[in-house]
């Protein structure tokens, strides 16, 4: 039964909140039970941002992830240090290797290293690093379909950012390819 509990974490400005919202939104489009919960309060003032996302086939109880994340997507070193302990045994972690030189300290995890910033720069826009990570996540877990994410992105972007759709889609494809390559 699908019951994915995802932590998205990084610096403020890396687009981790949007990444989480896209997973939730896409899940909603697919008729799944979803929730999105941001970190809030003083911990946000320190420059780190994270959100908890649930995509499930049964109604969601607590939207909070304590130590039972199935997947963590970490965009910077403090996030790796903070959240690698919160993943279930043999869970998955996707690490932005452009900014994190370290490997995960947990041997049981399935770890994937994605040079998200380098790929984003190659594509001509460093701001799509989050979409590279999201592409890797979707390829790995199949939690929601890429088409649904694109539909969600279209809703969130609206008309004014419609010209950015193509590069975001490309970033997701490259992220997916980095897992297989």
């Amino acid at each position: 039964m699908l019951n994915e509990r995802v932590i998205c974490a990084g610096f403020g400005g890396q687009g981790v909140m949007l990444m989480g919202q896209l997973i939730s939104y896409a899940g909603m489009i697919e008729g799944k039970e979803v929730s999105w919960l941001p970190s809030y309060g003083p911990e946000m003032r320190g420059g780190t941002a994270n959100c908890s996302v649930m995509v499930s086939e049964r109604p969601i109880g607590s939207p909070v992830i304590t130590d039972d994340a199935t997947v963590a997507i970490v965009m910077n070193l403090p996030s790796l240090d903070k959240f690698e302990q919160d993943i279930i045994n043999e869970g998955k972690i996707i690490i932005n290797s452009s900014l994190i030189e370290k490997k995960t300290s947990r041997a049981d995890l399935k770890a994937y290293y994605v040079p998200a910033n380098e790929i984003a720069v190659e594509l001509g826009n460093p701001r799509v690093a989050n979409m590279v990570m999201l592409g890797a996540f979707l390829e790995l877990t199949k939690t929601v379909g890429t088409d649904s994410v694109m539909m969600a992105l279209k809703k969130i972007f609206g008309e004014s950012k419609a010209h950015l759709m193509a590069i975001n889609e490309e970033a997701m494809k490259r992220g997916a390819a980095s897992i297989n390559g």
């Binding site: 909603m28 919960l37 941001p38 809030y40 109604p59 607590s62 304590t66």
Partner: protein, 354 residues
């Protein structure tokens, strides 16, 4: 209408505007800030008024004034801010004015913390203000229910001429969930607001809005009349959900987001052969005492699960009336109960693992 993904605090604002709320007075406090922020952006678009007061005390008294002039009016805050509003709330109840107050509860006592809690149970059901008054208190478990109840909250406030409290917690306020804004018809026949103080134009006698009654007999009569109103609320406004009560060995009582966690624990327990039911109060006041008559003979004990240190136990004991022993499991301070914690407590009560 299609579903939208919205943050709880913003959804409350959207639902309030949809229910005809035209005036909002507030003062910032985490974790409900997105609600006044939303109102500041959206109220002008519908010809309404958003005003950030200089304090909570000021905001609730602005509510008092706007309501006296016949407006659909709302304020919001979180636990310590609601504590500050209590004087205004009892004045509004005493003066018999309608309004909706949103409380996105955080941990206490004092300034406490900013993470989700349910430790305002006593504050919202007993009132922090003075005198014999009651609020109609809704505690929805998810954003859809919160949105669905908002129209009813405003209508009930107008119908009973009484403040209505909408209680969520930090999770309800901060999280995003799919929501559908449905067209709803009021189940109340709302009386004309012929008591408003909007000027007589010398065509009628002046209306007076007041909570001061110096003549003891007059004040007693006022109280008797208020009590009749609260009795009518007890008769007509109780809301609850009963889940999986059939053959239940244990019945858990839980409300708001905690009830969602309990529900998942119940599903897991069922798979392990332990049958547990849930009574979920949707109105905290009036408390759904009648729901306890649905508890089957198979039930050996009742368990209160809360994000507080056991504030609901008193009401559960009154409703149980000695029929079952009442136990407690809770977390506080912003810590969230886990299904594992709840399952552990249930197993302890049924006598070890099966």
């Amino acid at each position: 209408m299609a579903k939208v993904l919205m943050k709880g605090n913003e959804a409350i604002g959207a639902a309030a505007i949809k229910a005809g709320c035209k005036y909002f007075f507030g003062y910032p406090i985490t974790p409900q800030n997105e609600l006044p922020e939303y109102m500041s952006r959206e109220m002008p678009k519908v010809g309404g008024v958003f005003l950030q007061a200089e304090s909570e005390v000021s905001a609730i008294n602005m509510v008092y004034g706007a309501s006296g002039a016949g407006a659909r009016v709302m304020t919001s805050s979180s636990s310590p801010g609601i504590a500050l509003k209590q004087e205004g709330i009892t004045y509004i109840a005493g003066a018999e004015l309608p309004c909706v107050i949103v409380n996105i509860v955080r941990g206490g006592p004092g300034l406490g913390g900013i993470q989700p809690a349910q430790s305002d149970y006593n504050q919202v059901t007993r009132g922090g203000g003075n005198g014999d008054y009651k609020l109609l208190v809704y505690a929805p478990a998810n954003l859809q229910e919160m949105v669905d109840l908002m129209q009813e909250a405003f209508d009930a406030a107008d119908y009973y001429r009484n403040p209505v409290m909408m209680v969520g917690d930090g999770m309800i306020g901060q999280m995003m969930e799919p929501i559908e804004f449905k067209e709803s018809k009021s189940r109340f026949e709302l009386p004309l607001k012929d008591w408003v103080t909007t000027g007589t134009k010398e065509a009628r006698k002046p209306n007076i809005i007041n909570s001061l009654f110096l003549d003891p007999a007059e004040l007693e009569n006022h109280n008797i009349r208020l009590q009749a109103k609260y009795d009518a609320m007890k008769e007509n406004e109780v809301k609850y959900e009963a889940y999986n009560l059939e053959n239940a060995e244990i019945v858990i009582v839980a409300y708001g987001t905690t009830s969602r966690i309990v529900r998942n624990a119940i599903i897991d327990l069922k798979e392990q052969g332990i049958n547990v039911g849930l009574i979920r109060p949707i109105t905290l006041w009036p408390f759904p005492e009648k729901a306890f008559d649905l508890i089957p003979d198979s039930c050996k004990s009742v368990l209160s699960v809360e994000m507080s240190m056991g504030q609901m136990i008193d009401d559960i004991k009154i409703a149980s009336n000695g029929r079952w022993p009442v136990h407690f499991y809770g977390r506080s301070g912003g810590m969230i109960p886990t299904p594992e914690g709840i399952i552990g407590k249930v197993k302890e009560l049924v006598g070890g693992a099966k």
